[in-house]
């Protein structure tokens, strides 16, 4: 009973945190009256305190404000790239899953070749082709996530296609198109939606990683990976400049993972 409450508590706080981050991304000004670019030479490297809950950076900018404003890019890339990868993945994966065996075989070889590479390296290679930049980072992490979605979408399509209920629908004389629309696609989307919730976290980390390496947005854009990178040379004297953006990424990803897992468990519980 207690364990259940504790699990619930974790889930609730994770969901709440996600909501807060989403609001930050949409309306950062609710959280802070300050402009994220405003410098103040009299307030350099202030440690966290009343005026500046997360302290200030080398040009006296409020770290809290910058972290808040950073949510929009990180979350935007996370959600945007994941959504794009999801949509393309579902379309391609479902088509491949429904296609004749030859097409399926060839397509999956291709996807497997892509899957042979670590996601982060694919993103890096994509940057090598596209060149650095904030938009390109989003494209790169989306491309990197794509093969996994195609694969899962195809696998789910195959599972659903061979499932008892699709056979039952067929046995009732239902048209294949209607079977696809009313059974295959919705049931394929469900697990993918769950995976995507967790995938947002992966994408945020990957995008932040690229920014950290200097391949994404440039200073003074507030972006978590970049903020973190900006603080790396200050570790000895001003830990807060790097710490809070990093903590923010971690918490966001943890929250997305917790919520995603909970959704997955709900789904799997239903299945068995």
């Amino acid at each position: 009973m207690r364990a259940r409450l504790r699990g619930r508590l974790g889930l609730i706080s994770a969901a709440l945190f996600l909501v807060v981050v989403i609001v930050m991304a949409i309306a950062p000004w609710i959280f802070t009256p300050i402009d994220p670019l405003t410098t103040d030479t009299s307030q350099i490297l202030q440690s966290p305190g009343w005026g500046h809950p997360f302290g200030t950076d080398q040009t006296g900018r409020d770290v809290f404000t910058r972290v808040v404003y950073g949510a929009s890019y990180s979350l935007g890339v996370g959600a945007g790239a994941t959504a794009a990868a999801l949509i393309v993945g579902v379309v391609v994966g479902t088509l491949v899953g429904l296609a004749p065996r030859v097409v399926d075989g060839v397509a999956m070889r291709g996807v497997e070749i892509l899957l042979a590479f670590p996601e982060f390296l694919i993103a890096l290679f994509a940057i090598a082709v596209l060149g650095p930049g904030p938009i390109n980072v989003a494209v790169a992490v989306g491309v990197a996530a794509l093969p996994a979605y195609i694969r899962v979408a195809r696998a789910e399509t195959l599972v659903v296609r061979r499932s008892g209920y699709v056979e039952a629908a067929k046995g009732m004389g239902m048209h294949p198109l209607r079977v696809a629309v009313s059974h295959v696609v919705p049931n394929t989307l469900r697990p993918l939606g769950v995976i995507a919730t967790i995938g947002i976290g992966t994408t945020i980390v990957a995008a932040a990683g690229l920014s950290f390496l200097g391949l994404g947005p440039q200073d003074p854009t507030p972006e978590w990976g970049l903020l973190l990178s900006g603080g790396r040379n200050l570790l000895g004297q001003a830990w807060w400049v790097a710490f809070f953006p990093g903590a923010m990424i971690t918490l966001t990803v943890v929250s997305a993972t917790v919520v995603g897992r909970r959704l997955r468990r709900a789904r799997e519980g239903r299945r068995s």
Partner: protein
């Protein structure tokens, strides 16, 4: 070259003429606290891996100049006060028309692979560095670029270098490592491998021999036991004292700092000003102001926004540079007032100091007067519905201190209603924008030991003339300065140029970068040259 926080020398790579004089036997950067020991090893932490840029004749990297100095000797040497002293050349003679330099060479010098140093070796090296196949930009411009006519062997110990026009910086440039000498055997046998470099390829006649190179990690130098041809007057004569010099590549400034404080390395270069408080008292810190053009903003006078001198001056005085420099550099670097650094030999105009100050009211008034009197919804000034906005392009990666400074400048100008859009472009995109002139301002600092550096920055068509200035009077002044070796005459001409810029605000100097060397008290005898770069031939470790 793109590595130093203080001097962002993007355009150095675009150089036609750059002077970088080096100095041996400069000021001592360290004095050991204990008893001097024979032999031993000194470890030196640097910021950049010169991988792929190890050819002294073609490399444009500062780090290469620092790391190859122990291996390569030059004809002459320059002391920190600018005096040229004999090195591999015992004496030299300049013809009256100043078009021919005749050097008399030492006859006891050998390269570390046993080859003899002689006039043929000088010719082979100079021929190599101007050979288009070498793809040299830096060294070929140091030797005079288009002014260079050729080198001829008179006899084994006499060599003559000729020019098409008088070229005053040549002697100073001849002291640079870029005009140092490879063993002729290497040039003959390994010409294609010089850039990759390494033991057996980076072979010179210097006090140290490169014995191991692990890209990304370290370079190891062992002492040259036969070395006996140090520059005249140098404190360290004969072979080096230490047996080995280990160079560790540590790109993060915080990492370098704590590597020093934790004893992992003995000396670090390019120390970040912000980390000085961390280093503390137990260490020797040697900052050296860099000669050449300070870190500056170059306003493009061909663009509408900066074609008006009043706007330029309002721009220059519209933000609190003193506070910004202080905030970013923690009192380490000084704010710049002139387009030449105070340590640039025979040229600096100290009268300009404290001449300019931040005055928001004056800037506002000037902009109002210039017609930029309306404000838009974002608070920026407008004229005829056009926002007062300037596009600032920077070459990436932008080092952190400069990025912070840029933020402060942007934010300061925003307060007087002047928008600055800072586009940080990757090299290819930057170059496209730069060559197309599609920008209002850009930034860099330009390290040079000769004031002739201004010729490429202000002269019509100069490759570093980011301001697109074209003024016959300025061109004439620059031309007469490069054609004379009379130091007082040169100083007078360069002072005129510095004052002209102060009046016209074509270049907005921001701060004077420094090369900060920090070393442990366990080592001593390290000297620095005019750039502040360390020289290890006299260095020692203590008990």
């Amino acid at each position: 070259m793109f590595s130093r926080p203080g001097s962002f020398r993007i355009a150095g790579s675009l150089a036609l003429v750059v002077s970088a004089a080096l100095v041996l036997a400069g000021c001592s950067a360290s004095s050991g606290a204990g008893e001097k020991v024979e032999g031993g090893t000194i470890t030196f932490g640097v910021d950049v891996d010169p991988v792929g840029h190890l050819d002294v004749h073609s490399s444009q990297l500062d780090i290469n100049a620092i790391l190859q100095r122990p291996v390569f000797d030059s004809l002459v040497s320059q002391t920190p006060d600018g005096t040229i002293v004999p090195w591999l050349a015992t004496k030299w003679q300049v013809s009256d028309d100043q078009l021919q330099y005749t050097f008399t060479l030492r006859d006891d010098v050998t390269f570390s692979d046993g080859e003899k140093f002689d006039a043929a070796a000088v010719k082979a090296n100079f021929d190599h560095l101007v050979d288009p196949a070498t793809e040299s930009a830096q060294a070929s411009s140091l030797i005079g670029g288009a002014y260079y006519a050729g080198t001829e062997v008179i006899d084994p110990t006499t060599v003559r270098v000729s020019f098409t026009q008088p070229y005053a910086p040549f002697l100073a440039n001849a002291a640079s490592v870029e005009l140092g000498f490879y063993s002729p055997k290497v040039l003959a046998e390994h010409a294609n491998e010089l850039k990759a470099g390494g033991p057996g390829i980076s072979v010179g006649s210097g006090p140290f021999i490169l014995s191991k190179y692990t890209p990304g990690s370290e370079l190891v130098y062992t002492k040259n036991p036969n070395y006996n041809w140090a520059p005249e007057g140098a404190t360290a004569q004969g072979p080096a004292n230490i047996d080995e010099l280990d160079v560790k590549i540590l790109p993060e400034s915080s990492v370098r700092t704590s590597a020093l404080t934790s004893g992992q390395v003995d000396v670090i270069g390019d120390t970040a000003p912000s980390s000085l408080p961390q280093i503390g008292d137990g260490f020797t810190v040697t900052p050296t102001e860099s000669p050449g053009v300070p870190y500056s903003l170059y306003l493009n006078v061909t663009r509408p926004v900066f074609s008006d001198v009043a706007v330029r001056k309002a721009f220059a005085g519209g933000f609190d540079l003193d506070a910004a420099v202080k905030a970013v550099f923690n009192d380490s670097y000084q704010r710049a007032y002139s387009i030449l650094g105070p340590t640039t030999p025979d040229s600096y105009d100290a009268a300009l100091e404290k001449s300019a100050s931040f005055d928001a009211d004056a800037a506002n008034d000037a902009l109002d007067a210039a017609g930029w009197s309306e404000r838009d919804s974002d608070g920026y000034r407008t004229k005829n519905g056009e926002r007062l906005s300037a596009r600032w392009i920077s070459y990436t990666p932008v080092n952190e201190d400069n990025a912070n400074l840029a933020n402060l400048i942007q934010d300061g100008l925003k307060k007087i209603g002047f928008e600055v859009v800072h586009d940080q472009l990757e090299p290819g995109a930057y170059l496209d924008a730069y060559l197309a002139g599609d920008y209002d301002l850009t930034d860099w600092g330009f390290l040079s030991a000769d004031a002739d550096v201004l010729r490429s920055h202000l002269g019509t068509g100069g490759y570093q003339n980011a301001s697109h200035l074209s003024d016959p009077e300025i061109d004439a002044t620059l031309a007469s300065a490069v054609a004379t070796t009379d130091t007082s005459k040169r100083a007078e001409l360069y002072t005129k140029l510095q004052q002209w810029n102060a009046e016209n605000a074509v270049i907005v100097p921001l701060y004077v970068p420094e090369y900060i060397l920090a070393s442990s008290k366990k080592v001593g005898g390290i000297e620095v040259d005019i750039h502040g770069w360390p020289l290890f031939s006299g260095a020692y470790v203590t008990k």
